[in-house]
Symmetry: C2
Subunit: 123 residues, 2 copies
């Protein structure tokens, strides 16, 4: 999971299939063929019940779902983008090609040392 | 998942066994016998890699693990505490009885209308 406190103001859950989780746990890089990582995002909203119990506004929970993002490893099929195929869906529909085309360059600039995956394993 | 921005400054993942997740999805209250909810907490720390990509400090990920908390439904065994048995573990060891004894009264005061579970299902 993670939290983005900027414009997006999101809580995020990051899921992996068995291949991805094993690679995260073992520290295996690059990720193997078939590894799949999904990021589910929701608005970061106050938890009214928790705040009442805590006596101040400081507890936050997921609000409305905002996006689903997926990356799938196939070094042959996606050779041009670091071996990863990327998808981003809003309201169940894929984003446009211009937005889609930003996935790899951002990762190439910022996450090259971790096989283009921003997510790290939190034990 | 959730985020506590107060003294604890934590990111939290809430997990349920199949019985608990089905009850959350169906909106079934009270939770059935055997329903088990676990909360895993970590420090809320900046993500250096993400912040470099984003250009400002606004992305946060789990840091050191802080606690594991569990609640298990058994209305007979735990009749005195709303049908729930509570556990809180820090560094793999249960907390003392004084701390343990706070679990139910807080929930009784603040989460009685949701069968003493603070967590709500985020679809």
């Amino acid at each position: 999971m993670s939290h983005e406190a900027g414009n997006l103001d999101e809580l995020r859950g990051i899921l992996g299939n068995a291949l991805a989780i094993k690679a995260f746990r073992d520290g295996t890089l690059p990720f193997p063929y078939g590894a799949t990582i999904a990021k589910l995002t929701w608005k970061h909203v106050p938890s009214v019940g928790d705040d009442a119990a805590l006596g101040s506004m400081r507890a936050f929970v997921p609000g409305a779902a905002t996006a689903v993002q997926i990356m799938v490893k196939d070094s042959k099929k996606y050779a041009a983008t670091g071996g990863w195929g990327f998808g981003r869906f809003i309201g169940g529909k894929p984003v446009d090609e211009a937005q889609h085309a930003t996935c790899f360059p951002c990762r190439q600039a910022n996450a090259k040392g971790h096989d283009f995956a921003f997510t790290r394993y939190a034990p």
